[in-house]
Point group: C2
Chain length 229, copies 2
Amino acid sequence: MSLGKLIGVALGPGDPELITLKGLKALQNADLIFYPASSIKEWKVISFSYDILKQLNVETESLPLVIPMTGKNREMHYQKAFDEIHEELKKGKNVAVVSEGDALFYSTFGYILKMAQEANVDCKVIPGIPAFIATGAEGEKPVTEGNQALKVIARPNGFEEIEEALKENQTLVVMKMSVLDNWSDFLEKQNRSFFYIERVGTPQQYSTSDVQDLKLRTIPYFSLIIIYA
Amino acid sequence: MSLGKLIGVALGPGDPELITLKGLKALQNADLIFYPASSIKEWKVISFSYDILKQLNVETESLPLVIPMTGKNREMHYQKAFDEIHEELKKGKNVAVVSEGDALFYSTFGYILKMAQEANVDCKVIPGIPAFIATGAEGEKPVTEGNQALKVIARPNGFEEIEEALKENQTLVVMKMSVLDNWSDFLEKQNRSFFYIERVGTPQQYSTSDVQDLKLRTIPYFSLIIIYA
């Protein structure tokens, strides 16, 4: 039997209607869909991708790929995930793997794709809207324009790294910002406008550009900030 | 009569199927669609947005907004474009303005939005996939992953600016790269892999990661390059 095809499908930032027409079609036409899940606890699957996927009412069978969010044993978890996918591809199935946001922008799918390419699997990727782009739309303000530069950093090591990036006259996006504490103290010292968002595109969405509001928040994993040039 | 609503709808990078479900619905439900056109010559409208739009078979009436791509008199052209839109909003029409790529990422719509907000128009923005994200999918390689940073620059003043950005260990995206000549000479000196693309998502798409191929190309306006970290 010939090997099935692997297709990476980006779901977009959270609002199920922000998937592309092409992405939705690919999910409908796949034989099987895998979605990354951070854990399965007492039969409850913790997966932001699945939260989006289930709202699309796609009839294709779907299964979780457990990939914990901790940095530990990352390679092993990716390898295990790819092995599960590979088993299905070997049965001749065309398999879709979904990602929240885009599929190749700070995404788990990038690691899966590399393993699939090394195993000579026929691959295709359907892009999607990254969270920071959807945040721009929610904030109703250009993320960047003219010849202004943009910098995106993820999982910053400390505020020094952010301060350094702010010295240049560019818009700065910080992803996985929850790795740092005391954002409100830091932002108070800066002379820049910002837009902070949690769980963009979901019913739990919360956003603010007021540092006083941020003082009271516990920043969750699905949050990001745009600090404007 | 009460003022109509303005909705910015991102069309995505070129492939008409890369519009979102939400964007398509908004176009179907609008009373009128405006699309930016760089010129109208002998009854021929030059508009990349319209090239995408017409493939979507939306029945809503559509009209061009002429905004030349030259830097000259930019403000005047935006103001004229907004005045045309405002006239229709005053008739109570709900007006969609489309953008190729995203609506607030190096887009004309950002300027229109600011004018509309100042005129107290009710606005909404539906995001879309920027060209560099679609380029990542075409190249089948992660744009960025882990805690790697990304920088995007547009209309660079010279190769010095690009060289400076490459000193940091980050992925670099250069938009409107056609403002500079001799890309192949520059890239030959760098020890970085890259992915160059023209007219992403259209039948005229061309891409390469080989500097020898680039030597022979005349770089068009709709092109960009990702230089990997």
